[in-house]
């Protein structure tokens, strides 16, 4: 076997995988055009790889999962704790930290988050937000049971929107506040009393019970 053949044969495996540099691949290709033996060796190598790749896949048996579960018994928690907002936040931070190596994508995401923060800050400085915040402060200073009967329908819509937003992020958590049921009942009562006006103000007034 000539020196060129020996060099080319040593690269054929990587040539089949397409992992050679462009320069090396070109040299092998040039040699193959003039050497029938090496071209034949390449064909045999390709056929061998194709045979191995064509090996049938075997399937695990139907009781694989049950046997694994038996091995895992004692290792797995029996009653996994439900995740809280803090847990979810911690998890998101850990995932983000792991993905930090992805760099550019995360930088874009970070820039997006910074822009979102800026938008929220601007919104908080706007007159509408200040008005809403002062209304919330007013209701806080009153007894919840006494105040909801006189709440304007637009503000009830705001309360309902807050409630829905809370439910979106905390739908797996019951509200710990012991007065929550009383407040919800009062919201329902006030909502029923002002159905006409509320419907005119907003179509999203009803308190969503499917998220409790």
């Amino acid at each position: 076997m000539s020196k060129e053949c020996s060099q080319a044969r040593g690269l054929l495996s990587e040539y089949v995988d397409g992992s050679l540099s462009a320069d090396s691949a070109w040299q092998v290709r040039m040699h193959l055009t003039v050497c029938a033996d090496c071209a034949e060796a390449l064909q045999q190598l390709r056929a061998t790889v194709a045979l191995v790749r064509g090996l049938s896949r075997v399937q695990v048996s139907a009781d694989f999962d049950a046997k694994l579960a038996a091995k895992m018994s004692g290792l797995m928690p029996r009653h996994p704790s439900r995740s809280t907002t803090v847990d979810n936040l911690k998890r998101a931070l850990r995932i983000a930290a792991i993905r930090w190596q992805d760099g550019p994508r995360l930088l874009i995401a970070g820039a997006g988050a910074a822009m979102a923060c800026a938008v929220v800050a601007l919104a908080m400085l706007s007159p509408n937000f200040v008005g809403t915040a002062s209304r919330v402060q007013t209701y806080r200073s009153q007894s919840p049971i006494a105040s909801f009967a006189s709440v304007p329908s637009a503000d009830l819509a705001f309360v309902a929107a807050c409630s829905n937003q809370h439910a979106q992020y905390e739908s797996n958590q019951s509200i710990a506040d012991p007065t929550a049921d009383i407040v919800a009942a009062r919201v329902d009562e006030a909502g029923a009393a002002s159905t006409g006006a509320a419907a005119a103000d907003s179509g999203n007034l009803a308190y969503s019970t499917d998220t409790e």
């Binding site: 075997v58 694989f64 998890r91 409790e212």
Partner: protein
Amino acid sequence: LGSEKVICLPNTDTALIVRCQERDPAAFDEIVTRYKQKIFNYVYRMIGNGDEAEDVTQDVFVKMYVSLPSFRSEASITTWLFKIAGNLCIDRYRKRSRREQAMGGETISLDYRSEAEPSGAGGGPTVEVPDRDTEPQRILEQAELDRQIQAALAELPDKMRAVVLLHDIEGLSYEEIAQIERCPLGTIKSRLFNARQQLRKLLTPYLQS
């Protein structure tokens, strides 16, 4: 209370590992579902016995779960699982060779039925065979070819067989295999080259057809 909303948790491999580290059983189940066939096929081709391969595959996931606190995030879950599988296969070889020495020798049993084999032949699970493979002659030929390829693979040294299986069957890159085998890239390329040369010689009668 009314119906509960379904919370969508992230399902990337990274997120699954993080959830698994928090002992979330659903995340563990998802990892098992995603990887059990790949790991089982690798282990089966490495040790050649279906029941033993299932046992080892289950141990891979148990060991993964136990080792979660020490999982380094720079490794991918694929390379991590194959690394655990490779180590457990080596343990199994050692146990087996001790047993074989004690019992005076035993051949590798190829008792598991592949997707290509007809149901009812030998042990193993029931497999749905695609319509295009239902001709009995073709199925038998493929089953015979599988046996010959498996026998040729069994002839290879363990380290070469591992590289062929990981690269040509499981589709891992040279770099991923180098991580699993803790070897330089050149060593992996060299093992693959030599393994293919040996397989070419062993499978010469089947190359023409």
